[in-house]
């Protein structure tokens, strides 16, 4: 009797503990997002989005250069990374049954966990050192490398969801394999593939470490990819670790904008996949 009671109490206690700790994990997100909105929202005005930074110590100014810079660096990275990532993903889904498929899949998963700062060193070595100048292009190369393994895996997962009967129908109608793969399989999965690319873009848009010594940052407005360029993430780093109150205010506002950007892309992507593949997951 006593033993049974003790076991019951243990069970109740552990259940409560598990629920409590889960609550703590959820609470952290609420706290972080809440702080972002509380401290950042009040600084968001027209000037913030349309002006470039003013010299240190003065008030006012915005992050227009960083917003445009993020767009350019990330866009260029996507241009370089998407063909490799999606191509590798298609390979894994279509021909990935053998030993090479296993190897590529394994390496993609391992690379997914590689520290992004190390990828920054690679971008520096291949672009900054030979041109002896920090540049947006170097940052894009580093971000593209980060994107490839991520895209390969998401593309593979999504292409695998295409029903086999579709492929068989196309082949039975005399379609060549390559045409089946491109026109039928990839076409069917296109929405998912685009979503995967968007998620990848959202992920690299928040990256800072690989840009520290490639894109470097730039206090002025610049659209030249062979010059140093500012991104939101770099701007937040400089402002948050700087000594001025005004910078801290801008850091919070920029963090809110970056978070909003990443959230909107991720949410949109999630919404699109749920429409299409809701029943699968």
């Amino acid at each position: 009797m006593n033993r049974v009671l003790r076991r019951q109490i243990t069970s109740r206690f552990m259940t409560a503990l598990v629920i409590g700790l889960s609550f703590v994990a959820v609470l952290t997100l609420v706290l972080i997002l809440g702080n972002l909105v509380l401290k950042g929202a009040s600084s968001l005005d027209w000037a913030f989005f349309t002006k470039s930074p003013v010299p240190a110590g003065q008030t006012g100014g915005g992050v227009a250069n960083a917003i445009v810079g993020t767009g350019i660096v990330v866009g260029l990275a996507a241009l370089i990374g998407v063909p490799f990532g999606v191509g590798a993903g298609l390979y894994l889904a279509e021909y990935g049954g053998g030993r090479l498929g296993f190897l590529v899949r394994f390496i993609a998963d391992v690379l997914n966990g590689t520290p992004s700062i190390v990828i920054g060193i690679v971008g520096w070595t291949f672009v900054v050192r030979p041109t002896s100048r920090f540049s947006a292009l170097a940052g894009s190369v580093a971000l593209a490398i980060l994107m490839i393994p991520m895209l390969a895996r998401t593309t593979e997962e999504i292409v695998r969801l295409v029903p086999h009967s579709l492929r068989e129908a196309a082949l039975a109608l005399g379609y060549a394999r390559w045409r089946t793969s491109l026109r039928i399989v990839a076409r069917t999965a296109l929405g998912g593939i685009v979503t995967g690319c968007l998620v990848g873009v959202a992920r690299i848009a928040g990256e800072t470490a690989p840009l520290l010594f490639t894109a470097l940052g730039n206090l002025n407005f610049s659209v030249h990819v062979t010059q140093p360029m500012q991104t939101l993430s770099l701007q937040i780093y400089v402002y948050a670790t700087g000594p001025f109150e005004e910078w801290h205010r801008l850091a919070w506002a920029s963090a809110l904008v970056l978070m909003g950007l990443v959230l909107i892309i991720s949410l949109a992507a999630r919404w699109v996949t749920r429409e299409r593949y809701g029943s699968v997951r």
């Binding site: 959820v26 590798a88 390979y91 998963d109 590689t114 700062i117 991520m150 993430s233």
Partner: protein, 317 residues
């Protein structure tokens, strides 16, 4: 109008071309890992030649005297990651157990979604939050009681610096929770319900069923998830750089500043003035890269045994 090909030869060739192109693109990944390794190794050669293996246990880092040793960073990297695991594992396992075993059905999606969002927050935003919210909170509400209760142990001694091993470890913990939780959830979902039912039928309480039937069944995968989280923690850069204090020093108190390999590269790479200084940083990168590749490879093998090659945890939940 195109003539339907009567022989398969034509399509055969285009099929081969198609496959060749895709294979070429896929080969970019193995090439990439070799390129990264090569770049780091070649860059690190001068430092490797000069210091040999003593780089690993020398604790001097003096750009003026050109003597470099990575011991404090290696120590800080491992210490902050272990601290992060100690905090994150109970949280993440709780989330996974809650989602698969205890949660009402309607609550599963929202909770999973919130945890997934944690993985979407950029590292630099975590760092900003850490500087302005977490550190003041720790200073006012966490450090005084910790000192009062555990101040006699070597881990909680000295003055709290703000930027410290403790702050870095906690932010890392928050950041790796979604990854460990995602893998653990997949693993627990793969446990057949007959396992639970058998335990319950034998008269086990709900918790006993989880502890004795569900968790042991998924042990390999759960360990894989934890190791995956470790890999993330080892290489995480920005938030740690902003919070850990960046001091080349080995100290056992979590209240003191420390340094990690990733933070050292982030802080010093663009300022490295001499050839040897830069090379030493390349070697730090090489050590970090090899370490995370090994850790990730182990994690993948363990997870794949359970999830059969699916991209579990590449993306949270």
């Amino acid at each position: 109008m195109t003539r339907p090909s009567l022989t398969l030869r034509g399509t055969d060739r285009s099929d081969r071309i198609y496959r060749g192109i895709l294979t070429g693109l896929a080969l970019a990944l193995p090439a990439l890992i070799l390129i990264i390794l090569g770049v780091l190794f070649v860059g690190a050669l001068p430092a490797l030649r000069r210091f040999g293996p003593s780089f690993l246990w020398t604790s001097t880092w003096d750009p003026v005297a050109e003597i470099y040793g990575a011991a404090p960073m290696i120590f800080g990297t491992i210490a902050s990651s272990i601290l992060a695991l100690v905090i994150a594992v109970p949280l993440a396992l709780s989330v996974a157990i809650f989602l698969t075993e205890f949660s009402p059905r309607w609550l599963r999606q929202p909770v999973a979604f919130v945890i997934e969002l944690l993985a979407a927050i950029p590292s630099v935003v975590y760092g900003t939050w850490g500087i302005f919210v977490l550190i003041p909170f720790l200073r006012n509400n966490v450090v005084p009681p910790l000192k009062a209760v555990l101040g006699w142990t070597p881990f909680f001694q000295g003055v709290f610096y703000g930027n410290s091993l403790l702050a870095g470890g906690i932010i890392l913990a928050i950041m790796i929770v979604p990854y460990i939780a995602a893998v653990s959830r997949e693993v627990l979902l793969a446990v057949p319900s007959s396992q639970r039912e058998a335990a319950l039928a034998m008269g086990a309480t709900r918790w006993e069923a989880v502890r004795s039937a569900v968790l042991p069944y998924g042990r390999a995968g759960l360990i894989g998830g934890v190791i995956l989280g470790l890999g993330r923690a080892l290489g995480e850069t920005m938030a740690v750089t902003m919070l850990i204090g960046n001091r080349h020093d080995i100290g056992f108190s979590v209240f003191q500043p420390a340094y990690t390999m990733a933070a050292a590269i982030a802080n010093e790479f663009s300022e490295a003035t001499t050839h040897l200084y830069l090379s030493a940083l390349f070697e730090v990168g090489l050590i970090l890269f090899v370490l995370t590749v090994v850790v990730n490879a182990i994690a993948r093998f363990l997870i794949w045994r359970v999830a059969r090659g699916r991209a579990v945890g590449s993306r949270a939940l």
